[in-house]
């Protein structure tokens, strides 16, 4: 990355910190925290680390008849273990510059729309009506990353739409060498996940594997594709229970943490719905989900060419942290051949 927008003075004065999580007090959590101590504390209503750290220790020492010094020692250890350190804005910026990569999607006009490609550390969303080419673009991204960059791709398929022969077709269009094609196919890992719990489990396993840095067939992973996120969340939303929303937020947290911690580019596909049968198209999953992806691309088939059954699609930028919204390009979801990028005058974004 060669951009240098923030001035050092400003970023140094920005402090970021992440809140400490609620953890239950258990014996052995830190030296000095014994089972009897825990029993006494919980009898007085102190069950979690937060309760302990935020309570007045003199008070606690009196009520639980524990030694004040012991409590202070335990608190110091717990704070060191569980709280986060504030980070300096300039350091964060440097870290971001060195760890972010921009991955080409295999389609120059889409790259232009995304400001030269998929950014790692971010969630990008592709949305569109059925048949507009979301899965095709995902396959194109997988082909380009595994063949061109020789990086691994994890494809989480929740709709059954992943067709290996189509991926093979795309690879064949890009290179003649058969060995390269087969190697590229081996770098794409496919997992079929058909409900939300399986998706969460797969992401959790990925996180475990990456954090333990297991050198297995996983290899250097750069892209995670989830096609589609609305298929697994739709059955849970609505109705009187609110757990659907909670699970959706869990999923968004997992995706964002994965992207940020391991410098991955996460791509999700989403549906579009209408408010009424004549209303305009809007992305599915509502307002809560709209904060999750940093970039949103809307795919549409061009009305005039519908009868001629073509492979042309129009992609417009609906949300982006770097580009103005409303830019439109034309894509061809045929055999990976791409048209000359034509920038249409910006229309009303979503």
């Amino acid at each position: 990355m060669s951009r240098d927008k923030a001035s050092p003075g400003v970023s140094q004065s920005l402090l970021f910190s992440i809140p400490v999580a609620m953890v239950v007090l258990r014996a052995g959590l830190c030296p000095g925290l014994s089972e009897d101590m825990i029993q006494l504390l919980s009898a007085n209503g102190i069950r979690t680390v937060v309760d302990f750290v935020s309570s007045d220790l003199e008070d606690v020492a009196q009520k639980c008849s524990l030694s004040y010094k012991a409590l202070v020692a335990v608190r110091r250890v717990l704070l060191a273990q569980f709280s986060a350190f504030p980070a300096n804005g300039a350091d964060l910026y440097e870290e971001l510059k060195s760890s972010t990569a921009i991955l080409p999607t295999g389609s120059p006009s889409l790259d232009q729309l995304l400001d030269s490609g998929l950014y790692t550390g971010e969630v990008t969303e592709l949305m569109g009506a059925p048949g507009t080419g979301k899965t095709q673009l995902c396959l194109g991204i997988a082909a380009s990353v595994s063949l061109g960059l020789k990086q691994h791709v994890l494809f989480l398929d929740s709709t059954g739409g992943f067709t290996a022969s189509r991926l093979y077709q795309m690879l064949q269009a890009q290179t003649e060498d058969e060995e390269e094609q087969l190697e590229a196919l081996q770098r794409v890992r496919v997992e079929r996940v058909f409900n939300i719990y399986e998706v969460l489990r797969a992401l959790q396993e990925l996180r475990d594997r990456l954090s333990q840095q297991v050198v297995s067939s996983m290899g250097p992973l750069k892209v995670v594709v989830l096609d589609s996120v609305s298929a697994v969340i739709y059955p849970l939303l609505g109705g009187r229970q609110s757990e659907g929303l909670a699970l959706m937020m869990q999923l968004s947290r997992e995706l964002k943490t994965l992207a940020r911690e391991f410098s991955l580019a996460v791509v999700v596909t989403n549906q579009v719905t209408r408010d009424s049968s004549t209303g305009p198209l809007k992305p599915a999953l509502g307002r809560s989900w709209s904060f999750v992806p940093s970039t949103r691309v809307l795919l549409e088939s061009k009305e005039a060419t519908r009868e001629k059954c073509s492979t042309q699609r129009a992609a417009s930028l609906a949300k982006s942290p770097r580009q103005p919204t409303g830019i439109q390009v034309e894509l061809d979801i045929g055999n990976g051949d791409v048209l000359d990028p034509s920038l249409v005058t910006p229309t009303q974004g979503l």
Binding site: P130, S158, F162, S165, G239, V272
Partner: protein, 367 residues
Amino acid sequence: MQREVGTLPLAPVLRARLAAAGFQTAQELLDTGPCGLSKEIGISREEALEALQVVRQECHGHARTAEGSSSTRKCTALELLEEEQSQGFIITFCSALDNILGGGVQLTKITEICGAPGVGKTQLCMQLAVDVQIPECFGGVAGEAVFIDTEGSFMVDRVVDIAAACVQHCHLIAEAQQEEDHQKALETFSLENILSHIYYFRCRDYTELLAQVYLLPEFLSEHSKVRLVVIDGIAFPFRHDFEDLSLRTRLLNGLAQQLIIIANDHRAAVVLTNQMTTRIGQSQSTLVPALGESWGHAATIRLIFHWDNSQRLATLYKSPSQKESTIAYHITSHGFRDVQPPAVTPSTEGTELNPRKRPRTEEEKQQ
């Protein structure tokens, strides 16, 4: 196991209580044990034991699948490619339609057929229920069929006609080719056998349909040769008397996910038929498939049947690997067929059979 409590498939009430008590990861739950758990959150010992069992299964389930499970949920694209290339298709006896589908109706995928009334959706379903049983030596997948009927449009007499034509067709091929395995296969490929391997279910409203689909995995594990599940009329039970549209969307999406799981785990093709509805635009109205926008994402492959004067046309609207195209088809007394006989190619003398050829061409060739 650093699995967060919020991501485990427990009841929402239980999850809320665990979060309030301060449990964060699955490991903490397992460490606490059932007695501690029941005391902390105020549930009975049995409930705590059940919950812990679910947690244990979730966390260690992945260790089992890593060793290689029978359901290939995790694999590389190369392995998938080999699997796909060795997979058969269910032919439709209309070679033009088979061509645009890439060989026929694909296994492990959901195909949706939309069309106005009378255009031939049920005819194709009945044809497929017969075609799935064609023995492998004739180019079929040698499977059985499950037919779930919601509209009551399944006519056994028609299936008899279609099956008889199919059997006759195979006999002609066997006579022309004169190979041993053909004769053996023909002994089991008879009219009674075909009809006895179509499992018919009649569902009268959406509750029965949902129940049937959710009970289908059990049925399929008992009848492991089933390679086709047809739901004729998925729109019918959902279009009448449904006041709560958001409930309908939720039920349909849940149904779609369940069907994908069935298609994937049992290597079966799922075929659904849908009705058409009118969408009134600004200046004109268009016919679109029913059940709304979100249902359009359920099927992987979508075919739309429509009329052009008196010619029936089929358009491939959505497919992951084939281009959009339109072809014409015909419905004869023998079933679903091409409009004209396909060109006679000398390559049929070769090892690979072409059961898509109509009986008449075979007879002509023999003369």
